[in-house]
Amino acid sequence: MAEKASPSSNSISLKTVDGKIFKVSPAIANQMLTIQPLIKDSDSSTIISLPDVAAFHLTKIIEYLEGKPAAAPSAVDAFEAQFVKDLSPEELKGLLIAVGYLKVNGLVDLMANTVAKLIENKSVEYVRKFFGVVNDFTPAEEAKCRQEHAWAFDGVDED
């Protein structure tokens, strides 16, 4: 890893499931709500392990938290669009699980929204394939389900 020696005494060490150790500043670590309570009690020697987070995901999370512009909503939008642009659907989903586990400020919504966009206006079959859903309906039940759920918002166009 790039961080050989701890640059400052109060940085926080995070250990991913694949055994990599990341040193982050308390300001960054504090935005991961799940580990927030652990930070207070830790000193530079403690290592917080994150059993649900892989190194790739933590790298992305830190990249997001360090890179996110402080002000100007338009700059944030541009940054976020760039952030998710090169991630594959599977990477997005994996990152969303990690982000959901760590409860990272702002990133849960961004990732969930990005994943949701991938199934916007897609067929039931596509959504099943995308989310690995096993169809447990009989053809008759499925037809019935589709009919029953036509309840929503008759004639209103969705925006």
């Binding site: 699980i97 959901g100 919504d109 966009k117 916007e120 690995g132 929503a152």
Partner: protein, 483 residues
Amino acid sequence: MTNLKDSNDTVSPLSFTEFPEDVQLTILSFLTPSEITNFACTSKRFVSLCQNDTKLWFTMCHRRWGPKTHINKWVKGKVTFKLLYRTLHDWDNLIGFWRRSGNQGTTTAAATPSLVFFEWGPSFISGSRVSPSKTGTYDVIKSPFLWMSLSSEGQVVNYLDPSGRVDLNSDLFEFGLGFGFSENELIPVNVSFMGKTHFIVEENLNVVCSSSYEQRMHEFSRSSSGVNLGGDDGFGVGENVSGIGSSGSLPDRVVTEIYQRFANRTSPGSDKSRKQRRKEKERLARRKFEPEHFVKIVNCSPTPLRPLQGLWKGICHDLSLAFYLVAYDDIGGIACRLVGDYPDYFSSYAPVFWTSKAKFLESPFSMEEESLYDSRIHLRPLQAVNEIYEQFPFSDDEVVNQIQQFHLSHNEVVHRILHVSSHYDLVIPELGGTINQRNTKGRIWQYLSGTFGFGFVHDNFVIDMKHIIHDGCILDAVKPSAN
């Protein structure tokens, strides 16, 4: 950091069930209702997730309206989050400015301001009639007009305040609602939507036949197919809206036609019995409120590409406050008109200023342009500049120094200039003898702050435009005076 990619996320797709529930709900909350339906049909398990009111539909409501209203205050009794979603989905588009279309020829309609502003309350949506104050300040009179909410029975309840006196901010729907609440003052009404840019408020006399939204839509599209919806009153506010009712300003004639069609839809005139007619007459006689039609003002706020667009307020030449609407057309022109209630019905139809090409002059400006602006008086609320206005007339040269100081102290730094024209002199040529080209010329001075002022070559004033709303609230709002 090169070999960071995990090898384990390539084999089979991550299943939806691997997400914790809160993440699942967050994903779903970004979908539209029809996509939720779609999702529900993937498996039995997700049918029940998609029917979960307190989980899924709460999250759905929260995602869309959480920052705007108190979702939990709406939900009580038989009101479910799903019902709330459906209701607010229909009402969401109300938020913003509407103006009454046509003057139904009644005294009440003529006496009330035609501009209405809808905003979110904690457990209701409220509409207020807004009008410029007559005090020569930037104050905007905001008087209660309409409340819309859900009863604990899950019914839509809409009340109209004909007097404009009931305190809008009181939590009417939490404490007082029920049909016993101040019946003298509030009138139950129905609000019927037609497309996205038109609605009708009618008194609910409990005999009103309800028709489904679809029927209305159908009726509307039929009745509108034969007539010109081009909006020949030239307001041009309806662009950018697609679908039925795409014109933001239906000509009044059309509106009347449409309304008549609605009124007649349940009983085609020819086979209406006399008894029915008498009943109808009696019903109409009991009415306390004549139906009013409203048309949405769709582009109320400036955008980066249309910096002058929207509703503005400014002190005009007679030192009273007026509302202005600046609209862009699709070929780069702009037109500004007065909005509101003027004795002369047609005055609001002629533009205050217009140009066919909104191309700004950038600084540095020519000497001519500099001097044209520098010598002007900014028309301001009376109190602020009392000492200057007491020294009429404006044309007096010795006032100029004072004006200069005044001008600089207010630091309206001009950022860009736009050439515009006014119509007035062309319309009334006898006033000026011959039509003087120069008389119709004017300028818009856009300030660094983003707002702007305008004036004409033939006078010596700048009318500064101020925002009417900020963050969804009316600025400088005052209650109507007691008399």
